[in-house]
């Protein structure tokens, strides 16, 4: 299990990185923490001819508050964000979710943006981004774009980032002080990818629920404040609409059941905490 050959480029700035990207097009991949990409390279599932290592670009290492958003640079590791002193205050859902991303050891190298770029259907961070309606900042030689979470992930393992672009940061809105949020994930072992992951955030109108691990991309629904059977019916519809498939770890049926059961639990908890 060894990777195929590639050129390795370590740019000192985003501009340099974009330069290389523009020159190599489809053949290059951006390497940040490499906790997903390198495993794929080792298995030769991915065979880019150029790797652009952005992990040392200082400009990408910042966590900052920008216009009511927490902006996380593309070289910020998951562990660094978790250790950010203001995280619990500003975005408690992220603080709940991050310890579930990979393991202690992979979080210390794996980046927040890298996990988003990988867009794995059961990964927690894409679910966080979608549920919180965050944004992804993408840059290319042609310019800079800010993608909404909804526009960012276009499918399983695919995003709207073009071949000559790279993610420079992602942004999570600062939580409103009244809002409550909850995350619940069911996996086989501790630290495994989610069989089903659910995140709920209370909003002025009701509850926003995000479901990961079932459909090809995280699915977000905004629910008015519902009670009893109405919640169940809505969750049942959602469970079926997600149209999950059987895999060796869990049946589609089990996943539907989790959406119904855990969904109900966390919706109730979040809405009770609010009301």
């Amino acid at each position: 299990m060894k990777p195929a050959a590639f050129d390795y480029v370590r740019p000192d700035s985003v501009d340099e990185a974009l330069e290389v990207l523009a020159a190599s097009g489809d053949e290059a991949r951006v390497l940040a923490g490499g906790q997903s990409l390198t495993a794929m390279l080792n298995m030769r599932l991915a065979n880019p001819s150029v790797l652009i290592d952005i992990a040392r670009i200082q400009d990408l290492k910042n966590i900052s508050l920008v216009d009511g958003m927490i902006e996380v640079g593309a070289a910020v590791t998951q562990a660094a964000l978790l250790a950010w002193p203001d995280l619990v205050k500003h975005q408690p859902l992220l603080a709940q979710i991050l310890p579930n991303v990979g393991h202690y050891q992979t979080r210390q190298r794996g980046t927040v943006c890298g996990s988003l770029a990988h867009a794995e259907p059961s990964a927690e961070l894409p679910l966080a981004l979608a549920t919180l309606q965050g944004e992804v900042v993408v840059q290319g030689k042609r310019g800079r774009r800010v993608l909404s979470a909804a526009d960012f992930q276009t499918g399983m393992m695919t995003t709207d980032v073009a071949a000559d672009e790279m993610i420079t940061a992602c942004r999570f809105p600062v939580a409103d002080a009244q809002s409550r949020s909850l995350f619940h994930e069911v996996s086989q072992r501790h630290g495994d990818f989610a069989l089903v992951a659910l995140a709920a955030v209370s909003t002025a109108q009701g509850v926003r629920l995000g479901v990961g691990g079932v459909a090809e991309i995280p699915r977000i629904v905004d629910l008015p404040l519902l009670q009893g059977e109405a919640v169940e019916a809505t969750l049942n519809d959602l469970a079926w609409e997600l149209d999950g498939v059987d895999d060796p770890h869990a049946s589609a049926r089990y996943r539907r059941e989790l959406v119904r059961r855990i969904g109900k639990k966390i919706i109730n908890e979040v809405s009770h905490a609010t009301s």
């Binding site: 590639f6 000192d12 495993a39 050891q105 992979t106 210390q108 190298r109 501790h190």
Partner: protein
Amino acid sequence: MQRLDAGLRHRVRFLLNGRAVEGDAEPRMLASDFLRQVLGATGTHVGCEHGVCGACTIRIDGKAQRTCLTFAVQLDDCRLETIEGLTDDKGDLNDLQTAFRRLHALQCGFCTPGILMSLDQLLEEEPEADEVRIRDVLSGHICRCTGYQGMVDATLEVMAARRNAAGGEE
């Protein structure tokens, strides 16, 4: 900007257990292979090469990380600590290693180097960690021999002993 060509070997330099070392690697050479094959530091093991088993874990700039998910060329100018550097100044087993031995926290010892490096960081950064946290950190490793209990007990014991020692000094 540094650009290293695919087919060529490039000089890589870093600090390994406090000593400056260097060697040549193609860009695609994994850090685990570089340590073992180029530097002869075979204490770090390889068990899966996809980042799950933890056997290849070392501390890079203080943080426990997978060397199978890192390329040698990424180690340039880093500070690495591996199992070979864990003994105390006299070359004796340190407190954690000693506790591992006394509490039978290892059998075949293949997983052990990686596990010791993760726990080394934990002991340093979170001296108050509880059993749940220790098991959480250990869950980034797979051991097929021991059932983990000895490792958990050894870590708790060392934490308590270090606390006592620190308390005694005050």
